[in-house]
């Protein structure tokens, strides 16, 4: 049973990724990329890595994709954007990602009906992950926090001089 679900989900993931790298509009690609990440999250669940599946949905498909949406929206301004918005409301664009999402939703329903585990692989629960994370991997956690701090400072520094550079240009 898990193998059939795995095949379907892999097909969804690969198809969504192919569609992502062939879209001309970045927002259309973003829709398919979110679908690809959700499909990989389902595969994590099928492999028994429930904690990683939750993180994939919340952080990858949630937080990181929100960043992409913000930047794409910031880079489009003016009348062109209004025309784009009109074009995005056409049904042909979101019907593909919606169908793929329906496939994933149907898989979730199947898993729930089958009793919640669908004969997944070896389940490594979040307690094991936490114990190992703060045991042998404590140094890696510290390094990850340093990396995130560096990313925060870097993003702040890269975003700050943009305001100085563009504000005189807008006045003139």
């Amino acid at each position: 049973m898990a193998l059939i679900l795995f095949y379907i989900t892999s097909a969804v993931a690969i198809f969504a990724t192919v569609m992502m790298i062939t879209r001309l509009n970045a927002v259309h690609g973003l829709l398919y990329l979110i679908l690809s990440l959700l499909a990989v999250g389902v595969i994590f669940f099928l492999l028994g890595a429930h904690f990683a599946a939750v993180l994939e949905v919340i952080i990858y498909a949630g937080a990181i994709m929100i960043l992409f949406v913000f930047v794409i929206m910031m880079l489009n301004q003016g009348q062109k954007t209004i025309n784009q918005e009109l074009a995005w409301l056409q049904p042909g664009i979101w019907i593909g990602p919606s169908l793929l999402a329906l496939v994933l939703f149907a898989e979730m329903v199947v898993v729930i009906v089958l009793g919640g585990n669908a004969e997944t692989g070896q389940i490594v629960n979040s307690k094991q992950v936490g114990v190992t994370l703060y045991g042998p991997y404590l140094l890696a956690v510290e390094l990850a926090s340093m990396l995130l701090l560096a990313g925060l400072v870097g993003a702040y520094h890269l975003g700050k001089p943009m305001l100085k550079a563009t504000s005189p240009g807008r006045k003139s």
């Binding site: 790298i21 994939e56 692989g121 490594v124 190992t132 560096a150 870097g154």
Partner: protein, 102 residues
């Protein structure tokens, strides 16, 4: 008891990685390049999860967590760079940023 063979999981991971690599090499839009990089990082995370599931160890998920932090930091800095490039060159074409003539 593992319902999914390890080879299939690793094959899917390899296919996704190659698709992301093709995206990085073919596309010239900076946003699309960053999105393809996300696909590549995600594929490596999938490989770690498959290996961790095969041996029932938590190390695979911890490696995925570290990849997740790496992806978050990379996206923050990369999108900041994309914003800078857009405001200086008024385009997101990666080929337009060749002033160093490297």
């Amino acid at each position: 008891m593992n319902g999914i063979p390890m080879e299939l999981g690793l094959l899917l991971s390899a296919v996704l990685f190659v698709l992301g690599l093709i995206g990085v090499m073919v596309r010239r839009n900076l946003i699309m390049i960053l999105m393809s990089l996300e696909v590549m990082l995600n594929a490596t995370g999938l490989a770690f999860i498959v290996a961790g599931s095969r041996w029932g160890q938590a190390d695979g998920q911890i490696m995925f967590l570290l990849i997740l932090t790496l992806a978050a930091a990379e996206v923050g800095v990369g999108l900041g760079l994309a914003l800078q490039i857009f405001h200086r060159f008024h385009t997101l074409d990666a080929d337009s940023v060749n002033e160093m003539q490297g």
